[in-house]
Amino acid sequence: MELAFALAIGALTASGVYLLLRARTFPVVIGLTLLSYGVNLFLFSSGRLVTGGQPIIGSTSQYSDPLPQALVLTAIVIGFAMTAFVVVLALRNLADNEDDHVDGYQSEPKSRKKTEDAEVSGK
């Protein structure tokens, strides 16, 4: 069980990191979301993997650890806020630079060509 769980966190992290290193905003956002799944699961698992032990008083004999759960609950919501913020950054970047590259432009010669094109079409 623990091994499978650990592998799942590893897979989430690896995919998340790989996407984080991409050059376009959308994959980066996806990567961040995957990473936050991994981190949330990791934090949650610091209370160990308990079966049938929901921390509702009186519902079971052995409770799982409620503290990491409370932490992760807010982390999920904050993670959503962060994702939304990053998405909006990406959209604003797209609106301002007409490009979804993470640096706002692709590379020097390309963007120069772009402006030249724009000038030509403007004429």
Partner: protein, 933 residues
């Protein structure tokens, strides 16, 4: 109490002094002298103790854990320096009254001067080395401000910057040295350090500590090769030069060597480093002084030379040399301060300091000329003046060094040569300025004597030169003895303070220097011609070049690391995290703790395998953005199932609802974005990224595995036990959120609110035109709001609201609560936006979401603050049971109000974010307008 008071008084005076600036220069000068006079009076009662070789200690705790304390220590050496600082400081205060012009900012000047005085006193009176370091840096800072007092002059600013760079840099070295010393000794208290001399000197780090401490001392005391800052600091007003650059600050480095003499001196390293530095400084300063046409430039280089002399004396390592060094500190301070003041008077009365123009002043100001000539004679080492006595001791000591063979001749020769130079430049100072024909083209003509009181400080100092010169044993004997005893930290060797020791070799050297110097001066034109053949090194240009080289190389390095590519930053970030983690990880290995692995059931295994496959597939297929998004949603759903599987119902519900909102959000974003990611990175870069990602994933797997199988202790027992009796709820997670850790939650919903408002601000006035089709050439569906969806969505709203109310109310006892209920409400509303469009929904949901967020935060804060009115701390909750008709017994907890705040904030933030994005498209408004019409 009196010692901290002595240090504190000038600082208090610095605060008070500007208040007297309105009253004119006399008022502020009198006010500024009060702290110094009180400080002198406070030191006086300690004299009997100190004369017997005693020590006065006053100590207060400051940061005991770091070994820093407010401890002050007064012994003979610190008394000598304190007296120099206070007495010369008083004279400077009087002198500056006449030197400064009425329109100048005298308040700033006196305030800074007193700050400097306090910092200097702090250095000499601190018993804790770290405390001393604080004052040491303070003198660097205040001297920077004093040198640049005329900050409209570029030269003044540059000179001040150079002085700060050199002395501040030395201060850093000193700090490192002191930390090493403290580490060796185990204490930063001076008494402990001085007593541990043998331990320090035998320690393997001794050479490092010594070098660092000496770097601090040499930079401060303008020793070669750091001497260049002192002449450039002459851009300061002359009272500052007279105070800082002759008597006090440049002596701080000397003081440090004297102070740590018992702890550091007496080794070969000390001897070679200190004596050779001193010797080089002595010669270079004296030589350059000869050729300076600027009056203050001559004095500055002469100061460099004399500081080198004192350093050389300390370097010799013999006890008598140390006594001579202390003696010369006193003598140099008196004659050099008076010479600077005289130079200031001449500058003041003639308008220039160029010795080629100021000639024959004897006719115009005989009184000042007499004083300056006596002081200059003392500088040259003429008998019956104090400079002669210590120089004689210096000559004698230079003969006593037991160096092998040829080297034995070096110190006496250097000493005599420096003596010749000293006589020559002193002669130049006297002859060029006061005789040598008539003044040439003076800005102020004719010059005349300065105001009466401006000469008084000079008179007092010159009088001291003569008194010490003629009656050394009576005038300075006891003080010198106490200071020497404190420096050596033990018995003082026998020495005699008399005018002459009879006819001996040192006297011959003195005469040789005297006549050699006069001869040199008479032949000065040849030397000037000789000197003119060499190109003079402009230290300022070199310094500026070094600084600009440093700046450009730092910039180059920065731009190499920081090239503006987010991809590179992200890669560097992950790589550095890996680099930090790799050492503990490799020692961990594949670690399976004592708890071992538990068996796995089939459904869980399948779920986890699907999760892993989907996660990897998201990365592999990420170019097809829509597919990646679908796969991502599968991962999210499996994560929420995982939470449910492992006993976290609240998390499962939260994850599920957040998942829905997130996917809607990303779909919305994808509407504006290209649907396809082009291949841009090279294969090698992708392989590199894959390796980094794989390493990160492996690391996380190993850490998780090690954690999950390791022993488990938790602090959660408290929460489980107190949830019901203390928080009134059985859902421990919810009670933690709204009660035990309510303050955290308040912070978190505030972050949520800020993020939403940030999104709103970023997208306000932004317009984004979505691409006309889906990227594969298919146009969007013309029916923007399909009928079926609309018909299903509308009745969903009241149902969903009811569910969320239920989830909200039961949250304290069952899985649920404000976060989840808020998300459910938000989803229900978002569904209306999707199904029926912006205008339609806005029309029926007439809230501004900013206000909803504000209301939510307000509720949360009020719920927290309400407990104040009952005398409890912030966010204390209470609960009670009331009987409602029909419903029956119902629990009401004050935390419910707090949770309501959470609920509202979540709704407001989520909707504000999504609506802001939805509103981006110029079409959405038009379309929905049509729709509603």
């Amino acid at each position: 109490m009196s010692l901290p008071l002595v240090v504190l008084l000038p600082f208090l005076g610095a605060l008070a002094a500007p208040l007297f600036a309105q009253g004119g220069r006399t008022a502020i000068a009198i006010a500024s002298s009060v702290p110094a006079i009180i400080a002198l009076a406070a030191l006086y009662p300690h004299w009997p103790t100190l004369a017997d070789g005693g020590v006065v200690l006053h100590s207060y705790e400051w940061l005991p854990a770091l070994g820093i304390s407010f401890s002050f220590r007064l012994d003979g050496l610190s008394l000598l320096f304190a007296l120099l600082i206070l007495v010369i400081g008083l004279l400077i205060i009087l002198y500056a009254r006449y030197y400064l012009k009425a329109k100048e900012n005298v308040g700033k000047f006196y305030s800074l001067l007193l700050c400097f005085m306090g910092s200097m006193l702090g250095i000499v009176l601190s018993s804790n080395l770290l405390l001393m370091l604080v004052f040491w840096e303070l003198t660097s800072l205040t001297s920077f401000l004093l040198i640049s007092f005329w900050n409209h002059k570029q030269d003044a600013r540059r000179g001040a910057r150079m002085a700060l760079a050199v002395t501040g840099g030395g201060g850093l070295a000193l700090m490192a040295g002191i930390l090493i010393l403290g580490n060796i000794v185990g204490s930063f208290e001076l008494d402990d350090v001085l007593a541990a001399g043998d331990l320090i000197k035998s320690h393997s780090l001794y050479p490092v500590a010594l070098t660092l401490v000496l770097l601090g001392a040499f930079t401060k005391s303008a020793q070669f090769p750091f001497h260049f800052w002192l002449p450039h600091a002459m851009q300061a007003p002359t009272p500052v030069s007279a105070y800082l650059h002759s008597a006090t600050m440049v002596k701080a480095g000397i003081f440090l060597m004297a102070r740590l003499y018992p702890a550091l001196a007496g080794t070969e390293q000390w001897f070679y480093m200190v004596s050779f530095t001193g010797m080089a400084t002595l010669l270079i300063g004296a030589y350059v002084a000869m050729f300076k046409h600027d009056l203050k430039g001559l004095l500055a280089h002469s100061t460099v030379s004399h500081l080198g002399l004192i350093t050389l004396l300390f370097g010799m390592g013999t006890q008598l040399a140390a006594v001579a060094a202390v003696f010369h500190v006193i003598n140099h301070a008196t004659f050099k301060a008076s010479l600077f003041m005289a130079a200031g008077i001449i500058d003041h009365e003639t308008g220039t300091r160029d010795m080629r123009r100021i000639n024959g002043l004897w006719r115009y100001m005989p009184h000042t000329a007499t004083l300056a000539m006596v002081a200059a004679a003392s500088m040259a080492g003429v008998p019956l003046l104090n400079g002669f006595l210590s120089k004689e001791m210096f000559f004698a000591e230079s003969l006593q060094l037991n160096l092998p063979g040829f080297w034995a001749w070096v110190p006496p020769l250097v000493a005599t040569l420096a003596g010749i130079f000293a006589v020559a430049y002193s002669a130049r100072f006297i002859h060029d300025v006061f005789f040598n024909g008539k003044p040439v083209d003076l800005p102020i003509y004719p010059p005349h004597e300065p105001p009466r009181y401006m000469k008084i400080p000079v008179e007092i100092l010159v009088f001291a030169c003569i008194m010490v010169g003629v009656f050394p044993a009576i005038s300075v004997g006891p003080l010198l003895y106490a200071a020497a005893a404190a420096t050596l930290g033990g018995p003082v060797p026998e020495y005699h303070l008399t005018i002459a020791h009879g006819f001996n070799l040192p006297l011959v050297m003195s005469f040789a220097a005297f006549f050699g110097g006069l001869l040199m001066y008479s032949q000065r034109q040849r030397f000037f011609d000789f000197h003119a053949r060499f190109k003079e090194i402009d230290e300022k240009a070199v310094f500026e070049a070094v600084i600009s080289w440093l700046t450009t190389s730092a910039n180059r390095l920065t731009s190499r690391i920081e090239n503006g590519s987010l991809q590179r930053y992200a890669a560097l970030l992950v790589i550095s995290v890996l680099a930090v983690a790799i050492v503990p990880l490799t020692s961990l290995g594949v670690f399976i703790g004592e708890n071992g692995l538990s068996p796995i059931d089939w459904p869980t295994l399948i779920g986890i395998v699907v999760l892993i496959l989907c996660a990897l597939a998201t990365a592999v297929l990420h170019r097809e953005r829509f597919y990646a998004l679908i796969l991502l949603s599968v991962v999210g759903l499996l994560v929420s199932l995982g939470f449910a599987r492992f006993s976290a119902p609240d998390l499962a519900m939260t994850q599920l609802s957040v998942e829905v909102v997130t996917i809607v959000l990303l779909m919305l974003a994808l509407y504006y974005m290209p649907s396809w990611t082009p291949i841009e990175s090279s294969t090698s870069q992708r392989v590199r990224d894959a390796v980094i990602a794989l390493a990160a994933g492996t690391g996380m797997t190993l850490v998780t595995l090690a954690m999950l199988t390791g022993p488990f202790t938790s602090i959660s027992e408290y929460f489980l036990e107190n949830s019901k009796p203390g928080g009134g709820g059985t859902n421990v997670v919810n009670v933690i959120l709204v009660d035990f850790r309510g303050f955290d939650t308040l912070g978190e919903i505030t972050v949520l609110a800020i993020a939403a408002l940030g999104i709103y601000a970023m997208l306000k006035n932004t317009v984004l035109t979505p691409p006309p089709g889906d990227g594969q050439g298919h146009a969007w569906n013309r029916d923007a709001y399909p009928l079926m969806l609309r018909q299903i969505a509308r009745p969903m709203l009241p149902l969903a609201l009811m569910v969320s109310a239920y989830i909200f109310l039961r949250g304290h006892n069952m899985p649920g609560g404000g976060f989840i209920a808020g998300l459910i409400t938000a989803i229900a509303l978002i569904l209306q936006y999707i199904a029926s469009g912006m205008i339609w929904t806005q029309h029926r949901v007439p809230f501004r979401y900013h206000n909803v967020i504000g209301l939510g935060l307000l509720f949360a804060v009020i719920a927290g603050a309400a407990s104040y009115s009952f005398g409890y701390p912030f966010l204390t909750s209470t609960f009670d049971y009331i009987k409602w008709p029909v419903v029956g017994k119902f629990e009401v907890a004050s935390a419910l109000v707090f949770d309501l705040g959470v609920y509202l904030t979540v709704i407001g933030a989520t909707l504000l974010a999504l609506v802001s994005i939805g509103r981006l498209s110029p079409h959405s408004a038009i379309k929905s307008n049509k729709e509603s019409a």
